[in-house]
Amino acid sequence: MRKALMLLAVLVICTTLAFSQVKTITGRIVDQSGAPVPFVTIHIKESKQTVSADAEGGFAIKAEPSQTLVITGTGFATKEIKVGDQTSLTIQMSKKESNLTEVVVTALGIKQEKKALGYATQQVSGASLVQADATNTLSGLGGKVAGLQISSSTGTPGAATYMRLRGVTSLVAGQPLIVVDGVPIDNSNTGVSLGNVAQSNRAIDINPDDIENVSVIKGPAAATMYGTQGSDGVILITTKRGGKARSGNRFDITYSANFTFDEVNKLPELQMKYSQGYNGLYNAPNSSASGRRLTWGALIDTLKWDGVATEWDPHGSIVGASNPAGKTKVVPYNNAKQFFRTAFSQTHNLSLSGGNDFSSYRFSFSNLASSGIIPVSSFNRTTFLVSGDTRLSDKLKTGATVNYIVSGGNRVQEGSNTSGIMLGLMRTPTTFDNSNGVSDPKNTKAFLLSDGNQRTFRGEGSRSGGKYDNPYWTINRNPFRDKVQRILANAYLSYDPYSWLNITERIGVDHYGDDRFQSFAISSNGHPTGQIDYTDISNTIYNNDLLVTMTHNLTDDLKGTLLLGNNLYFTEYNQNNLEGDGYVAPDYYSLANTSSQLASNSYQRTSRLAFNAQAKFDYKGYLFVDGGIRAEKSSTFISYAVPYPSFVYFPSAGASFIFSDAFNMTSKAFSYGKLRFSYGQAGRLPGIYGTTNTFAGTSVVGLADGWTSGISFPINGQQAVFGNGLGNANLKPERTSSIDIGTELRFLENRLGLDVTYYVSKSHDLLLSVPISPSSGYGSYYTNGASMENHGLEVVLNATPVKAGDFRWDMNINWSFNRSKVTALAPGVSTYTITGFTGALIENIVGQPYGIVYGTDFLRDSKGNLIVSDGQDGTPAGYPIAGTNSIRIGNPNPKWIGGWQNTFSYKGFTLGALFETKQKFDVWNGTKGAMTYFGTAKVTENRGTSYTFQGVLGHADDNGNAVVTGGANKTPVLLDQSWYSDYIGNSFTGPAAQSVEDGTYVRLREVSLGYTFNTKSWGTHNFIKSLTVTAIGRNLWLHTKYSGVDPDTGLGGSAGLGIDYFNNPGTRTFGFNVKVGL
């Protein structure tokens, strides 16, 4: 019986084989209009054989007549066609207007259909990023993703861009994790300071032109697969891969060039009516009068130059108009206007890509050379990228990417820094010309006197003490240079031993060296004897992911997928600082030329092991349910009590229901409706070394008494240490749990799409240093304890209002709001400082939103009315009184943010415009507050005018509390030097609240007009396959009431937004881009 069956089997097989007519089928894929559809996938339903179409939609595949070809492509409905007798096929695919079968990259690089996701994501194309900003990828996301707040630190080249996705989930705001091709990369912003240069965030090293698209994963519900790195959300970047070349090419070459000009877009207003000096008298820079620090001098109209040129002014010395020596009327200088220049930048991108059915490759090279509106400032970046993917066999696919980047620039001092550009510029009186009449910013005549001292409005260095560096001095004599060499590399192997199983192994490394050099020349104010600093940073991340995916049809209608993953993640960071003080010889910037040296080192190493498990169920393609858990072990829990860490767990769950398909509701008016829900937990690890108790020297701990500056070691060569903070052997991770509910709706044959998401998140066990009783021997203790809450709404609207023939209008609106609240800090702790200045801090306070501005205000009554002094407490009558307690004076968190993108296309023309707004957020304009004290602010131009303060009469009692003694104030008083400068009418010496301003803005963030040439009509010998020319503008229009620089500015780093204290100004950009495909 067995033998017979065997014979029968052989016969059947032979017959089948004899009848098999495997033939080569060639074909072309076209869309409804007959245009070719490139790069779609054609595979045989009955086997694993797959090919992809080329750039012309052409393909060739070996198949039998009985087999079925399945053609799939992004944006198209899947098409199945039986092979039959034909050998040549033209297959038409129907385009879907919107991406119902859109595939997006999700956590761990796993591609999923967007419809299956229970959480909110949003995509931004690489092309959109390049258009927005050729330098910093993150800036290109502004206004394009609901819930994502993009902030600029300042407008100098290479300056960092900060992100906040759905609010803050920790006491010191983190940044969303950035993942490139499945490998987390470093995005630190090392060296941020209230008074140094604007550092970059390391994601600036990525060339936007290498990016295919960006997928933003919002909220912990979605980022649970990244556990302790995911609580601020994840930005997934996919780089361009190769593919089949355009027809007629073995490989494609694409070249694009960007040429742009930058200008200052906004500056604080300066008064130009009154001169240097004090009490209405002119004081010359080289006089000994202490009033030369200020600009409270004489009316310029009453002054004349004597025509005898000096080093202080080529027009001569200033005398009174009635003085017979006076020759010409004094004309005020606009130092700010003449200092900032129009800067030119260019970017060149060259890429080469190609491939066939089995492999694809891409090489790209780019060079960015940008200069800044501040002379000497620049940022350059050169990138090389090589990527390849190849199918080794039906079951095995492999690929690798190597990206080598060199970036860096010349940076300029900013902020609370007497060598800072804006600080010096804004305090310079309008009767003093920082440039000394020369136009070349490198000409030493501007900043150097013949005796070798620095030329500033404060007079010679040796005499004045406490002066500010002339901005021309700073750019020439206080250089800062950095150079980063970075390599991002990854390789993967994807193995499908069976049709239901895939094993992917991906290894990646991110390594960079960042070398920084800074020097202050002798006679620089902050370092009068000179100083040199070298900072050498080396940072490495190793990441290894092993993913196993198993799919199984549990029933005819129910498909299940099980994902198991293992992750190994190592980091190593080393920083060496070398400082030399006291140059011996001038202009010789080397450690060898210093009289004393200081060196220090900082070293950190972490490792982390994690496991992921996720189960997903797909019921009939319209109901999706998933659940997962992540288990992590991290080295930052290790202590003397815990030598090996234990696992911490982060769960997640989600569901997605496409009710339009389930209930067959689709019609012409309504084509798609989805409800989604997701829950997840993500977290944050304790900081490194948080578990040990350390002793530190006086440079860290200090030895003073609260009245005096105290003493510091070494003394006579002896060192000293004191207990620093108590570590905690029993730390837990910070946790954020959030729930995300949303809906996606498409109407009118996908001409209108709406995506709404509501989320609530609660963060607890937040880490902070808690003060403890000093009799324990220590002052503070690092422990879990604080908590915060966030909730918000995100709305995305996509519409195509007009589609008529060759003309099309697409519109996209992103709108979101987020509300945060600090719900607890620790017992006995009611405030937690993030950054800031005494009197204007960015603080977390229980019951308040994250990171409010905390400072002093004028004295007010219980209803908030201003108390106007009645003179009874000794303060000047008719004027406000300074309050003594710090209170909340501003909220830097916007009430809502939005972006409105419009794109018009007609034949080859495309016109695009993106408006972006940030509404109702406060910025502490410390620049204006200080300028008011100095007399340079425009608001002081009204000096001598009369004003009645709106408030109630009263005074302060002995404890500083308000006592109301009368009704509304009706007494006018003078607004003059004695109020603005000598008393408290400025936030430099007076209450900080008077400088808090609303930064609300609406801006035209991007505008572009491009034309794509019809190169097909240029003849068959034409080698230019595509040519597009685009005129671009960024930030061309800004509408805001903020009186300082561009309100999109922040000195305090990503965690401390809300401070403008002599921040460098923002820019507007215009230029054009040329893109050629060969």
Partner: protein, 444 residues
């Protein structure tokens, strides 16, 4: 279903086996310990001792000196916060810096040094740590009353809320520390010996032994109201104490920058203190005291070079004080040796300033038939000799000399109040119901 289960389990086993084995490679020892930080096990005595000495000196020569001098009116507060202090307006926060410097710097370093020395057998360091610990905690209890000691400095063992020991118990600890110190200082050499890191005596052990005895004498004297054998005990200890001005315990300062004397820093950076309306200034003027110009410099910074030059040392205990202790003890015993002691005390004070006190001594002799008549002279001269030190405040508490009029109200402060940081974080242990004017155990 079975096959599915088998498939899944198989793959799971492979993954788990692969990835979870290498514990030691993934988490090597020391990965979460900062190689650059000083942890307790990496400390050497020669970084703990300088820190402790300077923390003591800067605080004792700073806040302690200023506040106690205002209490006993050897200086007056003239502006801003010091004007309020002059009128005895204090809040718990005003003493926070002082308490925090005492406990988290000076005392914690000394306690850590004592333990380290005990562990490693550095007897001489152990002795020095005990002497300074006794000095420091003794001063703390003299200023505040009941203070934490037996449970203090154990934050790294999670004792975050130490209980407050009774002043009497703290004094017992002080005496036990001092006698144990004397033993340690006489023991054999250890592997590490104090030297340049000892800014008080440069490692000279004989002087440390004398300081220990001198401190014993001081603390016995403090018990004049609660222990009627105090005079004998004080004299017995004093007999082995300082022998001359060269034994004076003081911490030096060096430049006018980050190594400057605390009084110098205060008068140049702050001010707010006046001198000529103080009791001391007026007393010295009335007696034409040659030391006046060393103490006060009204034309310059206000405070004179002896106390407030940038390199003026901060005194912990002087030979002059020891002689005054002996004078008072002899006088209390009525054994007739008080005059010699008194004369030596006053002369020593002058000699320390490079002045000649003969004429002054002739004009201000110690006369009196009984202790009650002699005591005012002794204590008043001690008040002058020990200007800027906290000790005259202790004398005033014990004796009421000099007789001062409160600047406001009916009373002069007798203690520092418990600090805000303790009230906030250790509130359950802080004794309640005490004020600036409350009397503590030996202050009767």
């Amino acid at each position: 279903m079975k096959t599915l289960f088998i498939r899944i389990s198989g793959v799971l086993l492979v993954i788990v086996a692969l990835a979870s084995s290498c514990k030691k490679t993934l988490f090597p020892a020391g990965i979460n310990t900062d190689p650059n930080a000083s942890t307790k096990d990496r400390l050497l005595p020669n970084v703990l001792l300088p820190g402790a000495q300077y923390s003591i000196a800067y605080t004792v020569g700073g806040d302690v000196s200023r506040f106690t001098s205002v209490f006993i009116q050897s200086v007056r507060g003239s502006a801003r916060q010091f004007k309020a202090y002059d009128q005895y307006v204090f809040t718990a926060q005003d003493f926070d810096n002082c308490w925090s410097n005492f406990y988290t710097q000076g005392l914690n370093d000394l306690f850590t040094l004592k333990e380290l020395a005990a562990q490693k057998g550095y007897s001489h360091y152990s002795g020095i740590a005990k002497v300074l610990l006794a000095y420091h905690i003794g001063l703390a209890t003299d200023l505040w009353g009941d203070v934490p000691y037996s449970q203090a400095f154990r934050g790294d063992s999670s004792v975050l809320e130490p209980k407050y020991d009774k002043q009497q118990d703290v004094y017992d600890s002080v005496f036990s520390l001092l006698s144990s110190a004397i033993t340690d200082l006489g023991a054999a050499k250890g592997l590490v010996e104090p030297g340049a890191d000892d800014f008080i005596y440069g490692g000279t052990l004989s002087k440390w032994i004398k300081l220990a005895y001198s401190l014993e004498a001081r603390f016995y004297l403090h018990l004049s109201k609660v222990d009627n054998t105090y005079a004998d005990k004080a004299l017995a200890a004093a007999a082995q104490g300082f022998a001359s001005n060269s034994d004076n315990a003081a911490v030096p300062f060096f430049d006018d920058g980050t190594e400057a004397n605390p009084w110098y820093q205060y008068v140049t950076q702050r001010g707010d203190i006046s001198y000529d309306n103080g009791y001391l200034y007026q007393l010295m003027t009335a007696k034409s005291d040659p030391r006046l110009n060393s103490y006060f410099d009204l034309a310059g910074n206000g405070i004179g070079d002896a106390i407030g030059a940038y390199n003026a040392p901060v005194s912990l205990m002087t030979y002059s004080e020891l002689m005054f202790i002996q004078a008072e003890a002899h006088s209390a015993k009525g054994d007739g040796q008080e005059t010699t002691a008194y004369n030596t005390a006053v002369t020593a004070s002058f000699n320390a300033l490079g002045l000649d006190g003969t004429a002054y001594l002739t004009a201000n002799p110690l006369i009196g038939a009984d202790h009650a008549t002699r005591l005012p002279t002794i204590i008043t001269q001690k008040y002058v000799a020990l200007f800027s030190e906290p000790e005259p405040f202790m004398d005033w508490k014990r004796t009421g000399i000099p007789s001062l009029t409160p600047t406001t109200g009916a009373n002069i402060p007798r203690r520092f109040i418990y600090v805000q940081a303790e009230l906030d974080h250790n509130g359950k242990n802080v004794p309640s119901g005490l004020t600036l004017y409350s009397k503590s155990w030996w202050d009767q």
